[in-house]
Amino acid sequence: MATAKQPPTRKKRFLLDDLELTILSLPTAIWYIAFCYIPMFGVVMAFKNYRVKMGQGFLYSLFVNSDWVGFKNFQFLFRGQDAYLMFRNTLGYNLVFIVLGVLLPVALAILISQMYSQRLAKACQTSMFLPHFLSWVVVSYFVFAFLSMDKGLINQIIRSFGGKSVNFYQESGLWVFLLIFLNVWKSMGYGMVVYLARISGIDTELYEAALIDGASKWQQVKYITLPMLRPIMSIMFILSVGNIFRSDFGLFYQATRNAGALSDVTMTIDVYVFKLLIERSNVNYSSAAGLLQSALGLVTILGANLLVKKIDPDAGLF
């Protein structure tokens, strides 16, 4: 009944505009289909004991030659001390990253948008964005240049003041903070740009009206900027919550140079799975871990969306 009252919409026809847009999206679509959707049948590997049959190819090996083992491949994630460590680390770091990943970029975006000198603002923005483009492997060499025990910058400073060299790669407690710092340093600029774009899109009339009413800078931020940013903040939040069971492999493996002494604070699920795959080439376990991460990620992303919608019905992602 309700549909009858709606105004007639235009007839669905494939227009020239649509063609252009389709072609534009084609490379991405193909990429996703080829590399994300087609290989997805590989998740059966998580429930199989994969045994290669030489000469018959991968598909035969997987579907005919390998036995089903049910959930046995998932067990390894929950055995021994490492299981506790990797779940604790993955979740712990991600919680901190998510909170800081919203708070800091928003604060910085607001500060930069308030800057009088546009030139300085741009310079700040660019220099904060730059680390985003550095590979963790490159960063690991920078970090090493600072922290190396005999030639590192920090130890040279310590020695020049008469102190004793510290072997930073043996001090796991310190790395908890260092890893958080590195992650913030590298990702801050990217998040900031997103928020800055939204801020510059806010209608200036709102601020003018507020000024006339005598609102201070702080009040303008509190009652105009932040509410306008809220939809984006919630989207960024939901997206990052979806990745709460994943970790930035480069940060935890490369930047720490895979130092054994740090493994209590650097062992995340991805690092553990990588070590297994590289050393033992056990694709069953790796697939099981990947599937579990994705499934849990889906649950958390749905949960976060629900939560956000409870608070603000319009702010949900879907």
Binding site: M54, S61, F76, D82, M149, D150, K275, E279
Partner: protein, 483 residues
Amino acid sequence: MKKLVSLLLAVLMVSVLLAVPAGAENYVRLTWVQGTGADAPTDVAMVNEALNVISRERLGVEVDIIYMTGDQVNTSVLAGEVYDMYFTCDWHNDFNTRVFEGVFADITDLLPVVTPALYATLDQEVWDLAKVNGRNYAIPVKKDFYPEVFLMFDQELYARLGMEIPDEMNFLDLEPYLEAYKAEYPDLYPFMRSGSAGGLDGIFNYINRDASIGFPYSAAGTENATTIISLFEDEEMLARFRAMHDWYNKGYINPDAAILDDSSIDLKVNFIKTGQGFFGADAIWSARDQYAIQISKISGPYKSGSGVRGSMNAFNVALDPERLELAMKYQELVNTDLEYRNILRYGIEGVHFIDNGDGTVTRTDEGRNNYAPWAFSQGSYSLSSNEASPFIQVDPNSWDKVFAGYEHAILAADMGFAFDPTPVEMEIAQLTVIREKWMAQIVTGTIDPDEGCAAAIAEMEAAGLRDVIAEAQAQLDAHLASL
């Protein structure tokens, strides 16, 4: 203009399509996956062509030699890619695992029939030690297959200091040499290490490297000869670890050793190094490091299955019988033809190396930079000519002395046992991660080994170390009972 370009492109594409079948004549093209570190040799295509000239004439085959790192070959095998021949050992393309996966062809019965000349190059004892469950799946490389580990010293430096370097020494007696070096070069580290064991574990006979289990060679002949333990609870290893920790504290070892990999250490510096080797390896190491090296043995030789299986070449199980025979005949060529073997190792004469005419060859700079593949993995290492050294006198017949030295080698009590890890796969996977966490710290002396080993063992026990050892022990006992 546009039309012209597209026309040209079209012609180019068609000619490429036509060119592919035209190049290949009626030679069988075999593929051989060889191992490599991070840098594969660059002049491979050129050398392959020179090799094919010989193999075409002898056997009517051409061979593509493909260089893969350990990770690459693991992935390739898992994906079911088929190559004809593979380099395999216990630390690259793991032999036992592959055999139990059924990737390699059983060649026990074919060896003496198809390739009698190849079969005759090795003693029966070697063929026996290479067996898994009584069958041969690969051809051991004729080389230093009974492991010996050496220390490498700067000859000139210690001669100047008046310190004598014995042919054999106890690793624990290294300290005076470290001390003297440190006095000479206060800014350098006399014992630069990376996170890998670098031969320090050469006294331990691994049953399974990932789980770090096995038994010390020194146990041979005692009542513990076949008692499997963890590397981290072996008293001899502990003694070495303690010495390393002591030297680490004294500043003889670089403090960042545990987080360095092999490639980040400059071998041209004359610090004391370790390596698995043989009589005559001093020439190879001198050529590599560009200064005169004098060697001193710290362990070996030990006769064991893991030693013989330390470098082998195997055949894909998927080959049809004709192709398998051809591939075996090809391996016979590699293992018995000096000219072919030298090209494989050194490259093209006049470009990559110069034949000195006295049974030795000299690599050119081009050879050193563009074609220096692993030589120990390519089939009979001892067949190829020795590399001359500008630094020390090289004996062209050094291998005779190596093999003569094996007559008195200690025979490890595992008697060619090969462990099937599949029943305890999950446990071993976890032990691998734990080993990786502790090994580098302990073996470089970075941490106190008594605390470190105890902690490592505790973590490993939580992950099922004792179950793995029990499984391995049961398999070993069954194997010994079946002999």
